[in-house]
């Protein structure tokens, strides 16, 4: 019988397989950041162990880093200690680090792909659940806890039970206003926050094949929001074109050998998935969340649901709690929800295409009065590219704040936070209670919906913008 993409990559990394034991898998790439690694390095010290494969390990600073005044000492002493701890650990153990101020610094899941380190058929881990992002390249990539970080540092392997596989097939054409973010939010609403639990997802079908690498990363990024540790997309010409020439992409004969291998990484026609979900791309629309978990979402044209409409008692109770926390009323039109803050950024939507799509809508328009808009590039490289294209000027001319790279308001470990009761439209990945700041209320949206929302002051799609919003559009040549 044939094998799925996930099974092929898994099998190629089995170091040891024994009856009654989890498989021991080799890890090709280990990404580190400041939050989930300090206790792991301490563990190594206590056991007098070294990092086994420094050449498969890389660190950056992202969660705590400020997005303003990065040339000054970090104001929060606890954040500063955490970053200094990473610097000391990397120096002591010899790990390559891209700290704040370095040109390769940025959100760890933006940095890996742009360096060309994330490659098809590799195993990628990081002490961060959004490691699933790297599955967009046909890598088997998943988040791990700190104990496992220590395990990988010491052994370059992980003992793991093999998950089941689920195909999510999306056929047809995505409508004009529908982005990868809308698609993944719709998938999560469909299968639920636990729907992918115990599975590796494989996104496939004609609508997926047409997506750019950046859009594929947005989709795989949020696999964890459906409960799946990993999501994958088979590598193809789009993948190879993205990788060719990047710093760590193979060259010469190695490139040819790599591509020959990468071409084998497709689910066989006779392979069987443990579960399958089918989605008609044509039926999708811009999608936003109304609740406090990423599965509580609906098309932007819909109304806030009535908790009484849920048959399942725990879902009904969760919806009631969510409406109370979010300060919403059942039946209220989603488009009528006014926001205070718009955040564009994160490992979900902080790449150059995301910034371009938001900028294209803001060009010649203004952020609505009373709305604060933060644009935080996913990495320094993304920021430099955006500046080269003049996107930073578009954002600032519209009244948005153009910031330095980092995780920022996605989780508010740095000063970028919502105040209690403040409401955001955010291109990030989690709308949990207090995620963006104590008492903050989050609506997850695409970069396009974020931009339209910033202009109109309420949840909106690009189609809601009229030409009159665009006063003096920047002449194309000025970009």
């Amino acid at each position: 019988m044939g094998r799925t993409l996930a099974e092929k990559v898994w099998d190629d990394h089995v170091v040891r397989r024994a009856e009654g034991e989890p498989d021991l898998l080799f890890i090709d790439l280990h990404l580190l950041h400041e939050v989930t690694s300090p206790q792991a390095f301490d563990g190594l010290r206590m056991s007098d162990r070294k990092v086994r494969r420094l050449d498969l390990t890389i660190a950056t600073e992202d969660h705590n880093t400020p997005t303003l005044d990065i040339d000054k000492p970090i104001a929060d002493p606890v954040s500063r200690v955490q970053l200094e701890t990473l610097r000391k650990n990397c120096a002591d153990f010899g790990v390559r680090l891209h700290p704040l101020g370095d040109v390769e610094q940025g959100v760890v899941h933006v940095v890996g792909p742009q360096l060309g380190l994330t490659q098809p058929g590799t195993t990628v881990v990081c002490g961060d659940s959004h490691t699933s992002t790297h599955g967009a390249f046909g890598a088997l990539a998943f988040g791990i806890g700190t104990s496992q970080v220590e395990h990988v540092l010491a052994t370059q392997t992980l003992p793991l039970a093999r998950p089941r596989t689920m195909a999510i097939t999306v056929e047809g054409e995505l409508p004009a206003e529908v982005t990868a973010k809308d698609l993944i939010l719709a998938i999560i609403a469909r299968i639920g926050t636990g729907g992918g639990q115990g599975y590796i997802l494989e996104y496939r079908g004609s609508a997926i094949e047409k997506l750019s690498m950046e859009a594929r990363m947005t989709i795989c990024n949020m696999s964890i929001e459906a409960g799946a540790r990993a999501g994958m997309i088979a590598p193809d010409e789009t993948t190879f074109t993205y990788l060719k020439g990047r710093d760590h992409a193979p060259e010469g004969a190695d490139w040819d050998a790599a591509v020959a291998y990468w071409r084998t990484l497709r689910t066989d026609d006779d392979a069987v998935f443990d579960a399958e979900v089918f989605i008609d791309a044509a039926e999708l629309a811009p999608f936003v969340t109304w609740g406090t978990n990423p599965g509580q979402g609906a098309p932007l044209s819909a109304n806030v649901p009535d908790p009484a409409s849920y048959e399942d008692a725990s879902e009904r109770h969760a919806a009631e709690r969510a409406l109370e926390y979010m300060g919403l009323t059942a039946g209220q039109a989603l488009r009528d929800i006014r926001v205070d803050t718009v955040f564009v950024g994160s490992c979900t939507n902080g790449r150059i295409e995301d910034l371009r799509s938001a900028a294209s809508l803001l060009d010649g328009r203004k952020v609505a009065d009373g709305v604060r808009m933060l644009v935080v590039p996913g990495s320094v490289r993304v920021a430099l590219q955006a500046v080269e294209e003049g996107l930073d000027k578009v954002f600032t001319a519209a009244g948005a704040e153009w910031r330095h790279a980092g995780c920022s308001m996605c989780l508010g470990m740095n000063p970028d936070q919502l105040a209690p009761g403040e409401r955001s439209a955010s291109t990030s990945n989690r709308n949990f209670e207090g995620r963006q700041g104590k008492g903050g209320r989050t609506h997850l949206v695409s970069p396009q919906v974020a931009a339209a929302t910033a202009v109109l002051g309420h949840l909106a799609s690009p189609a809601d913008l009229s030409d009159t919003d665009a006063g003096a559009r920047t002449p194309a040549g000025a970009r």
Binding site: R16, F26, S129, A257, A258, R435
Partner: protein, 202 residues
């Protein structure tokens, strides 16, 4: 890791689903660089409400958390497990756990027990009608036992794969176990193709 064999203790009924790791331990607590001192951050936002179940005096000192489905969703932060342990919990019962949280808990000796929702409902009823009622979580027998207010005995078997159970019962260190296979790891490394990425050149 601390070994887990059997634990008997009073239970806290947490009637909430999708308890994500941001609720278990908010992000600002993640700046700490130790594995201890997280107890005050556990459910920090919810504990501001005096009526929140963990604040009620009758549940003080309880060691078994009985929660709704999809417990531990979201972030991979192991701090969520440390916070529960620092607070005093030895076991968590739910009908469904998020994968990463479950993996983290078993690596730290916090037993996560999966039981069908009707059994969870019954345990909630027991803990609510009699907060002094004790629940036994027996890893050797893979069984949860409690006594209903009407005197009936509730016995529910749970599943946990044999390997994970063996590691927990003996409090084994995963890294030491893996390093016993050094020869296998070295052999795999020697056979890796040259096109695989490297972060630094040797």
């Amino acid at each position: 890791m601390e070994a887990f064999t059997t634990h008997t203790g009073r239970a806290v009924p947490l009637r909430r689903s999708n308890v994500d790791t941001d609720q278990i331990i908010p992000a600002h607590w993640l700046k700490k660089v130790t594995r201890d001192g997280f107890e005050d951050g556990l459910f920090e936002a919810w504990r501001k409400d005096p009526e929140f179940v963990l604040n009620r005096p009758e549940y003080a000192g309880a060691t078994v958390l009985v929660a709704g489905p999809d417990f531990g969703t979201g972030s991979s932060r192991e701090h969520a497990v440390w916070a529960l342990q620092n607070f005093g919990f030895k076991a968590v019962i739910s009908s469904r756990f998020a994968d990463i949280f479950r993996g983290n808990s078993l690596k730290n000796g916090l037993l996560t027990v999966v039981l069908e929702q009707p059994v969870v409902d019954a345990l909630w009823a027991i803990a609510e009608s009699d907060p002094t009622a004790e629940i036994a979580v027996d890893l050797e027998q893979r069984q949860v036992r409690a006594t209903s207010p009407d005197g009936a005995t509730l016995t529910a078997d749970f599943e946990l794969d044999e390997n994970a159970r063996w590691r927990l019962l003996n409090g084994l260190d995963d890294i030491s176990l893996t390093l016993q296979n050094e020869a296998d790891i070295a052999a795999y490394e020697a056979a890796r193709p040259s096109f695989k990425p490297r972060t630094i050149t040797a």
